[in-house]
């Protein structure tokens, strides 16, 4: 028997948990109660995890040891657009257009 990739467990658990959220009232009919400190901590999971994911992606060092400036600038502009518009599509457009323009202007 071939070994099963352990990542299937990750996918399965996320899928199961998400179904529990989706069905909490629609299917199972009862709410969930959480301790107050946990609930307060959960509020900060999205900003903390997203920031931890995003920042290393925006600050990348090139092979010669210099910072990838176009990426950082594109990220900063996209961040400002995201803050103002609170929308994903304008953020994507702003970030990619700035990145492509800077790459065209400053060839490696």
């Amino acid at each position: 028997m071939a070994a099963i990739d352990p990542l299937w467990w990750v996918v399965g658990l996320i899928g199961l948990g998400t179904f529990v959220w989706r069905g909490a009232f629609l299917v199972f009919g009862r709410g969930l109660r959480m301790p107050d400190l946990v609930r307060r901590g959960l509020n900060y999971v999205p900003p903390a995890v997203f920031a931890a994911l995003v920042l290393p992606g925006l600050m990348q060092w090139q092979a010669d040891g210099t910072l990838d400036t176009p990426r950082l600038i594109a990220g900063a502009v996209a961040g400002a657009v995201a803050w103002r518009t609170r929308g994903t599509i304008p953020t994507l457009i702003a970030g990619m257009v700035v990145l492509w323009s800077l790459r065209a202007l400053m060839p490696v």
Partner: protein, 230 residues
């Protein structure tokens, strides 16, 4: 046209403009699965089993960064926690349906399906066939999501690396980050976690990311406490 069909058609009509918006996300989920080396089965399996874009992208990123399994699962479930609110809001309108129907609806429940359905049930368009409207919205979203993930996975290798389409993923999280910050403690959580994850990028197997996120969460709770809480 029977009222059942009318409700279904109204759902299809309402969801049509949203297709253009979810396609790039689905494609990105496919490309992200490819980039992270998940393989076609896991990438498609995730789209079918989880079927929730932001949580899929976040968990693929975390898996790729080598984060601990509990952090991956916890993050995805927190991102999807809003579904609980949708479920609570929709449930009273569909209580009369059999379990099979309600389970199917729960499986295809998304931001878009909730938003469109709740605006129907709260107006005079509401009738006994609201669940057909829900399916008219939910099923096309599901199909387009699967097709766009598959397209992203298989076309990902064909896209020129010069386009740097991989940059879309941090940009999506940047947008989600900005939307998730709604208080001062939220800013503090983000700043602490973000700077620590840059500093800790050299640590093995995503440890830096996990520790940075935990420190950010703690900083947020502490900042809230110091302010007196609310």
């Amino acid at each position: 046209m029977s009222p059942r069909r009318q409700a279904l058609a109204a759902g299809l009509k309402a969801v049509a403009p949203m297709m253009a918006a979810i396609t790039p996300f689905g494609v990105t989920a496919g490309v992200a699965g490819l980039d992270a080396g998940l393989g076609p089965a896991l990438t498609m399996g995730m789209s079918m089993i989880v079927f929730a874009g932001a949580s899929q992208l976040a968990s693929i990123q975390l898996i790729n960064a080598g984060a601990a399994v509990p952090l991956v699962v916890l993050t995805a479930l927190i991102i999807n926690l809003r579904m609980l609110m949708y479920s609570a809001h929709l449930a009273p309108y569909f209580r009369h349906l059999p379990l099979g129907w309600r389970s199917l609806m729960a499986y295809v429940l998304t931001d878009q399906a909730y938003a469109l359905t709740i605006s129907r049930v709260m107006t005079e368009d509401s009738d006994r066939f609201n669940h057909w409207f829900f399916l008219g919205v939910g099923i096309p979203l599901w199909v387009v999501w699967q097709l766009s993930t598959a397209f992203g996975y298989w076309a990902g290798t064909a896209m020129p690396p010069d386009w740097e389409l991989g940059f879309i993923v941090p940009l999506i999280f940047l947008a989600l980050l900005m939307m998730s910050i709604n208080s001062r403690p939220g800013v503090i959580a983000a700043v602490v976690a973000g700077s620590l994850s840059v500093l800790g990028r050299g640590l093995p197997a995503g440890l830096g990311l996990t520790l940075a996120a935990l420190a950010g969460i703690a900083a947020g709770v502490l900042a809230e406490g110091r302010r007196g809480g609310d």
